[in-house]
Symmetry: C2
């Protein structure tokens, strides 16, 4: 092991992202050059390790594919759809004022819980996969409703369940479950979002009255963006620095803790004394959620209101905790909130599905221009439209399987509390949340643009989907911050590897093959350009993982170098773009691996062939998008780069041929997608649309 | 010349985008290899052809820079700003219903014309630069107002002036100018947007009554998205196929012509008989504009209402035109509408400026995390935030100069009607409109995300800017279609070149140096990596132009090849992505050239240094974004790629150091940018923001 580590330390600058090729590799290059001149014939065709779909048009059985895609909680989703479909008065109109939207959203949530009998709270801990399925379905009815439900059950409810103890569960479960206790999650402050440890609200223990006193010391500490606060909330879980009076020093800051603070009178609904509540006002989207701002003026709460799972204060003001330090307790506290990210990644794919369904169906319907004296052709017949939408359709499938995997390991973790799984879920939820929500946000704009003028009609949904989804990139962890967490975990794993330790599940590939990935690219395979080779999952995965491993190794070297002069914070910042690329690359590796697994596990042959086609497009499009990196390290020779590009365009064309079946397989009925231009029966689309305008 | 052409025809596949390197270049490669081993020292430092800013922090005099940036029509813009600033009741509130917004927008326009005395119509033909300046200023008050003004004066008014003759001007000028004749531009139909020649509305001449009869033959021909139609319009310029009764064949279709059709009664404002008007309803943005749908049921209009500049019908039903064919007349008709694209490109930069100002100022203000035990740092101090915003700031400057250039040549064209200039303005307006609006659309989302939660508050403007601007990518020509026009013009120029003909102004570089750009990259300069070399405008321009020339040549070869089997339509579609890349590459070349000119022409040394810094970032960031293409043809060696990447990050850091001054130089007062988090005086930003929420 030590020799390994020494090796790393001494690795010259050539392992950096864009290596100064040094003299040592010249021999290889000369060899490559001559290979180039006289390629042995067997290399040109490559080895077909796995049979691929070939060039015939695939016959997709939508029912079979749909059955494979559909999660085991489809029934409860259907109940959600049916309920809202049967209550037109609960459907959100195209135009609605903020205040009306908030009231409607509350009625929708009440209807769901009290009338449709769908009570999500019990699933938050017991069956999270079911909870996320409900969340996704509710979000496709109106994303404001999804978020309002998430605030109530994941955030406010989840904080009580996960950060509190039995006394809290006994006291609050019923009221949270049946919506008698609508509540808030008051973490973010005006001046602090990502840096939660920097929040300034204080909770000072008063041993005389056995109470905590909650205070907002300055305007920067006003709790901001608090969902349910502006109108409906009765309680808030308030995150504040716990201050204990201390004979010697005056007071001790015990770090961030969570406290249940009643904010409105249970009967009159008037704000309680000392609780100042304002409305954060109109937002870009999600205006059905009543975000508010809270300022506390010496608000007193009983000692029991400390959510005391990870740290407690006794009657005489002594602090006890099973965890040794402020940082460990902080990590444990925030760690319990990871479920929110899982839900966002999962729901983001749900949004992406709706948008892709609408854009693909309209692109098949819409005709514009054509060959001289012939009928106009569908706009999806244009290469440019395929380029915009087919890799996006492939990514939607890829993310579907990846987030399903995340939900499964999260559920497993909730059952077993296995420590490796905890780390894995942590990093993967951070990474997938960031990666998927950024991708969906960009895609929503592309879909609108790809649907031209009719995509700009509010009734066709791209506007509200984009505006509502936009903040997915920010809340529950800013994407740029989350990706850094992923990079941090990867670096930790990297160090473990060289210490001979074990690695968590998702990045087995780092353990298995770091060395091979770090060797010089093979000049022979770098030139292989046969379709069988390019569509071989081994080539694809190797390429993704090579990139990740190389980025990881090179950033580790750079960080070490810069730390000496800039300190660790400065070195991190100097390498920040590199670290973000590394994190994205890792997430892409995981997504591809899960997609390949899903293709292999598909029992129906025709569905498997369709998924293989889509998976190949996903993989090759990603490689092509980053072709500069592959070229810079000669992992891919120019002829291979060209072949990848050509094949990507060809696969886009092939996927286009089954695009209708592929979006139908998402199995979302018209009353969920709702856009007239995206109706399943193409012949009704325009007439539905003109009827909407009053014709 | 013929030998040139023969040369091209015989050029082997290696000139394609990703060349199969052939044996002929092996000698070069071996030479490169050995150069790599022993680089002569003089190559490492490169030749400093132009002195560059160096590594010291630049001292920017905002006033001087602002003076240079400010157009000569700043005064009229200031009058617009002042007028609306003095009329709080005319300012658009954060939340407003569609119907109220439409009425307010109309009041704003009336106020501008009748109270502030700013009458844009006279400038549409006489002084377009002044017109565009007003349009930009009005758009920053409320983009709906900008578009409503554009509908009235550029589209409805512009069609009367440009497609009509003196009789139309005499009859309508005054009413259009003073808003007594609010009007529409009824071109787009439900089934036809981009393909204007495919529209189906008909205007049949009735020689008995000396009238045209306007008819909507089917639902697909309903005029759709017609601004001013749903509520305010009295007239519409209707585009329809002119049908002339013909003794022999029954009837002749003379192609698309424009007709003035009164749609509402001048007194009662009720829809006239046979004119069916519906509301297109709520849109993603621009809800202050009343877009409607029009169906015509045998609506009769006098023969005089044909806008007859390019084709006329006599009393006895004979057709006359100075232009020989339907296609020529159609081209002339659409050609007159090019001003709309100029205005959109220009206004899009205005939107980008507002967004960049807000995002940069907030990123300087906002602090989050920091080195251990030290104060938190500004988020713009993070490399990732610089990466998001600094190339965007550089692009804003680049687009400012490019669109100013476009406005100038458009004005020149309107005066001289010089034919070369017409072609140039046509392609450049199409290309810049497409390129700039796509860039701005993406940037608005990046800015929102970069500003985190507070970027999601509606009051901070990213939402409305994005929603309003979104359709800039579609109207006045779908961006994907417009880029194809650019590619088409380039191919035409390419063929001209080989026939020895002249080229229009903007692509002189193609004439001057197509041959040198098409030669093999120089293996020596491909390795130069010195800062002076990379910041040399010659290197930058050469790289941009090399790429364009290569893409142009290779797509011409591919088109010729595929035409044989697929026909010209099929070949075009097979090469479509390639053609779009070519068009974008050309536009980038023009933008860079204009930016370099603007740097050189700047009289103030400190401003010139700042602009040079920004221009270098613009150029190198673009090269880096497309590094795969450069690597694939060995235009840039790996060491140079790495140097470009490092320098781009370093220049982003340097631009960050003067980012405040650079956004201040856009010279937009707080009451125009309006976002609390983007206030010029940073110390007031948070307090303005909390006051807005009621604190």
């Amino acid at each position: 092991m030590e020799s390994d580590e020494a090796n790393t330390t001494n690795r010259p600058a050539e392992v950096d992202r864009f290596p100064n090729r040094d003299h040592a590799i010249v021999a290889q290059r000369v060899q490559r050059l001559f290979l180039h001149l006289n390629p042995p014939p067997e290399f040109s065709d490559a080895v077909a390790l796995v049979p691929c779909a070939g060039r015939a048009k695939i016959d997709v059985n939508t029912d079979q594919l749909s059955k494979y895609m559909r999660g085991k909680y489809r029934d409860v989703q259907q109940r959600v759809y049916d309920y809202f479909n049967s209550r037109p008065e609960l459907q959100t109109p195209i135009e609605i004022s903020k205040d009306e939207h908030r009231e409607l959203c509350m009625r929708q949530l009440m209807g769901l819980v009290r009338e449709a009998g769908i009570k999500p709270f019990r699933y938050v801990v017991e069956d999270p996969a079911q909870y996320f399925a409900i969340l996704e379905a509710v979000g496709s009815v109106d994303m404001s409703l999804g978020i309002k439900m998430g605030v109530q059950y994941s955030l406010w409810g989840g904080s009580v369940l996960n950060l509190g103890t039995k006394k809290h569960r006994d006291k609050y479960f019923e009221g949270i479950d049946n919506m008698e206790y609508p509540g808030c999650f008051a973490m973010t402050e005006l001046h602090h979002g990502s840096n939660v440890q920097g929040i300034q609200t204080v909770a000072t223990f008063d041993p005389v009255k056995d109470e905590f006193i909650i205070d907002t010391p300055n305007d920067g500490a006003i709790k901001w963006w608090i969902g349910n606060a502006a109108v409906h909330g009765k309680f808030a879980t308030v995150f504040a620095k716990l201050i204990l009076p201390n004979d010697i020093k005056g007071a001790s800051d015990m770090g961030v803790h969570a406290f249940i603070v009643p904010i409105r009178d249970m009967k009159t609904h008037i704000a309680l004394p000392g609780v100042e509540i304002h409305d954060c006002g109109h937002k870009v989207g999600l205006n059905g959620v009543d975000n508010g701002a809270l300022r506390f003026h010496s608000v007193r709460i009983p000692r029991d209101n400390l959510l005391n799972r990870f740290g407690d204060v006794s009657r005489d003001g002594k602090y006890t905790s099973s965890l040794p330090s402020i940082n460990k307790r902080f990590a444990a506290t925030l760690g319990e909130l990871v479920g929110g990210r899982v839900g966002l990644a999962y729901s983001s794919v749900g949004v992406l599905k709706i948008a892709v369904i609408i854009a693909v169906r309209y692109s098949l319907l819409r005709q514009q221009f054509g060959p001289p004296k012939q009928p106009e052709i569908s706009i999806l017949d244009y290469q440019s439209q395929q380029h915009k939408l087919m890799p996006m359709l492939a990514s939607t499938y890829a993310f579907h399987f990846a987030t399903l995997h995340l939900v499964n390991i999260y559920s497993e973790m909730k059952k077993t509390h296995d420590e490796q799984l905890v780390g894995d879920v942590h990093a993967l939820s951070a990474g997938l949340k960031a990666y998927v929500t950024s991708y969906t946000a960009k895609s929503l704009s592309i879909c609108r643009e790809a649907c031209g003028g009719h995509g700009y009609a509010a009734v066709n949904r791209f506007g509200s989907l984009r505006n509502d989804h936009d903040i997915f990139q920010t809340f529950e962890g800013d994407n740029t911050v989350l990706l850094q967490q992923v990079a941090g975990y990867l670096l930790k794993q990297y160090q473990e590897k060289f210490r001979g330790g074990t690695l968590t599940v998702t990045w087995n590939y780092l353990r298995d093959s770091m060395n091979s990935y770090l060797s010089q690219p093979n000049p022979v395979t770098a030139r292989w350009e046969g379709e069988d080779h390019l569509r071989d999952p081994k080539f694809q995965l190797d390429a993704f993982r090579y990139r990740t491993s190389r980025l990881l190794h090179s950033v580790a070297v750079r960080l070490r170098k810069h730390s000496k002069t800039l300190g660790s914070f400065g070195a991190w910042n100097r390498c920040l773009n590199h670290l973000l690329t590394l994190a994205e690359s890792h997430i892409e590796s995981v997504v591809l691996a899960k997609f390949i697994d899903a293709v292999r596990s598909c029992p129906d042959a025709s569905s498997r062939a369709a998924l293989k086609l889509v998976c190949d497009l996903y993989a090759l499009d990603r490689i092509w998008n980053d072709i500069g990196t592959y070229r810079n390290v000669d992992y891919v020779a120019p002829n291979k780069a060209k072949a990848i590009h050509k094949l990507t365009e060809y696969l886009s064309f092939q996927v286009k041929n089954v695009a209708k079946e592929l979006v139908d397989a998402f199995d979302l009925p018209d009353y969920v997608t709702r856009a007239p231009i995206g109706m399943q029966a193409a012949e009704e689309a325009y007439s539905q649309y003109t009827q909407y305008a009053g014709f």
